[in-house]
């Protein structure tokens, strides 16, 4: 299935020049690195009141909302181009920041275990952060320690392994960015794959004087999904045939690349959907006991909470979904294996919509903290820009529920029409395919109504 694509660089030649500049990535990284460092320093030394601390407000409100509401749904992995976390490791490995250092990267050149070449570590990492989110999101010092741990782990891995092993296989954020980046209407691709096939030296993989070989261990010539390309733009610089470009394309086009469907990614979809549901209940719900369990006030209660979260996310949701998928398989008369994994990709639009709805519910209400915190990042009584005493003002609560309903409906309709398409794959009778999709669609509807109830009911 080919879809309409629009090559953004055909006309916008200036964009090509920007993307080929060696300055682009380090410049962006430098900006985020400054903010990131400030977030860690304020977290460690600033006020323990989260809503008055730059570290908490800028990371968990401003950055989070920007990432999940704007960057990932519209631009895919573009955050990974400017992410400060791998910067120290990458720069050390290259012994250069801007210029292309001709030497080989300095690492111990260990081999990353085959068994870990997937998303499972990222799944585990995300769950680890999720289990402690009641503490991480509310206590600046804990948040800072977690933030500090990320680049340190990345640095450690970059000493052992070449390239962005941390980003590709470990980073808990990278996992879901990769998953949801498939929804974005923007993609980095080659213009013509036959050019790649005939090109002997494969500079985009090997690197050349203009740039490094793909640090994400991707071969751009084969790229058909956004999931693992970190948009570092090295291949723009290395490709001597001017064969790399950015395309506009329909939302979610990557989800239909069914040969790439895998269980680890499917579980990422379950985990993200389940966590969106639980976060909505814990953080936006009225249940005080749930909040106190999640914030580790007593260990036994937290253990119960952790067990419950893991059971729901890893067993209940995938189990119910498996049941629905099996029913769909039965109705369709598919004999050649279950389509459970393939159907799980329909939860990508649904889950992303749920995260957007959740994040809006949080950001509209608490976004105004950003204004006061920017004048007084440590909560020490400074007033740098005169906004330190801005009162907490929730933004447009009337608008919020409309946006949430709209986004959730969009996610559901996208998921349902994907389901019909997946069910119909290889089937002759389209009406039967539609009927076969119904159990999976019912699951999607129930999930959507659950979110709706949490937000409006």
């Amino acid at each position: 299935m080919t879809v309409a694509r629009y090559d953004l660089l055909r006309r916008a030649l200036w964009l090509g020049r920007v993307l080929r500049s060696r300055l682009l990535q380090p410049a962006l990284m430098l900006v985020t690195l400054v903010v990131f460092t400030l977030a860690i320093v304020t977290g460690l030394f600033g006020t323990p009141a989260g809503s008055r601390n730059f570290g908490i407000v800028f990371v968990w409100i401003v950055w989070w909302a920007l990432l999940i509401v704007v960057l990932v749904p519209l631009f895919g992995r573009v955050w990974c181009m400017m992410c400060p976390i791998p910067a120290p490791g990458e720069w050390l490995q290259r012994r250069a920041i801007v210029r292309r250092n001709p030497g080989r990267p300095r690492t111990l050149r260990k081999r990353w275990p085959r068994r870990l070449k997937n998303m499972w570590l990222q799944n585990i990492g995300f769950l680890g952060v999720a289990l402690f989110s009641g503490v991480i999101l509310t206590r600046p010092s804990v948040s800072a320690v977690v933030l500090l741990a990320f680049p340190l782990i990345a640095l450690g891995l970059s000493l052992l392994y070449e390239n962005r092993v941390f980003c590709r296989y470990v980073c808990p954020v990278g996992g879901f960015i990769g998953l949801y980046a498939m929804m974005a209407p923007l993609e980095l691709r080659t213009r013509d794959c036959s050019t790649c096939r005939l090109h002997r030296t494969k500079d985009c993989v090997a690197g050349n004087a203009q740039g490094y070989g793909c640090p994400w261990m991707v071969y751009p010539g084969n790229l058909d999904r956004n999931t693992y390309c970190g948009m570092c733009m090295e291949c723009f610089k290395t490709c001597p045939k001017d064969n790399i470009t950015l395309n506009l394309r329909p939302f979610g086009a990557d989800l239909f690349v069914s040969k790439s469907h895998r269980l680890d990614e499917a579980y990422k979809a379950f985990i993200m959907l389940g966590c969106a549901l639980l976060y909505s209940a814990v953080f936006l719900g009225p249940w005080g006991w749930l909040k106190s369990w999640a914030s580790l006030e007593s260990l036994p209660n937290w253990l119960l909470y952790a067990a419950g979260l893991l059971a729901i996310v890893l067993a209940l949701i995938p189990g119910l979904f498996r049941l629905c998928a099996a029913l769909s398989d039965r109705l369709a008369g598919h004999r050649a294996g279950s389509r459970f994994v393939t159907y799980a990709y329909t939860l990508v639009p649904l889950g992303l919509a749920a995260w957007i709805a959740f994040s809006l519910g949080f950001v509209f209400v608490n976004g105004s903290y950003a204004l006061s915190v920017i004048s007084d990042p440590f909560g020490w009584g400074w007033n740098l820009f005169g906004t330190a005493h801005m009162p907490w003002t929730p933004f447009a609560p009337q608008l919020l529920s409309f946006l949430q309903v709209g986004v959730l409906t969009g996610g559901l309709l996208f998921a349902a029409s994907m389901t019909v398409r997946f069910a119909g794959d290889g089937m002759v009778d389209a009406r039967r395919a539609l009927v076969a999709g119904l159990p999976v669609i019912a699951f999607q509807l129930v999930m959507t109504l659950a979110f709706l109830w949490l937000y409006l009911g």
């Binding site: 929730p394 389209a430 409006l456 009911g457």
Partner: protein, 167 residues
């Protein structure tokens, strides 16, 4: 092919828009009972008790707000009501619940780590916004499936002639 398919999808989007507008504007008789409801609401780290309460649209609501540990606040979404409450001093908040739906009330005085998540719910019944939203979601899904039912059969079944240009 593409132009034709896009037109089809655009028509579906159009119908969805009509549906949304219809449900949004659906007139619902407002009923004005003249009840006065008294309610004790307690704030403490990091919850309100009761966490959720229901009143009927049109009710006059009188909340006696107290705080049992530190200073808290009460901010009611959409109603624009905000009050600060000090332990030991009961605050009386009086308003008419003229808008239906679920409205969160939030602590508005920084009171500790979980403060931003200290939330309670006031449901003004009948909760039409929720029922309308749920109805919209179900009908929109129905519309999508009906649309697919009509169009996909022709495109997939080999007996039918391939729809003009749809390859």
């Amino acid at each position: 092919m593409r132009g034709w398919r896009w037109k089809r999808e655009a028509r579906l989007a159009g119908w969805l828009g009509v549906l949304a507008l219809f449900i949004l504007l659906l007139p619902v008789p407002a009923h004005g009972t003249l009840r006065t409801l008294h309610l004790d609401l307690d704030a403490r780290q990091f919850e309100f008790t009761p966490p959720r309460f229901e009143v009927a649209q049109g009710d006059e609501v009188v909340i006696r707000l107290s705080a049992s540990d530190v200073v808290h606040g009460f901010y009611l979404d959409d109603y624009g009501i905000e009050r600060r409450v000090v332990p030991g001093v009961v605050e009386e908040i009086r308003f008419t619940a003229d808008r239906a739906g679920k409205f969160r009330f939030r602590c508005s005085v920084s009171c500790g780590p979980m403060h931003p998540f200290m939330i309670g719910e006031l449901v003004v019944t009948p909760n039409l916004p929720f029922f309308k939203a749920a109805g919209f979601v179900v009908l929109a899904l129905g519309l999508l499936l009906a649309h697919r039912w009509r169009h996909l059969s022709a495109a997939l079944s080999p007996q039918a002639e391939p729809v003009q240009g749809d390859r």
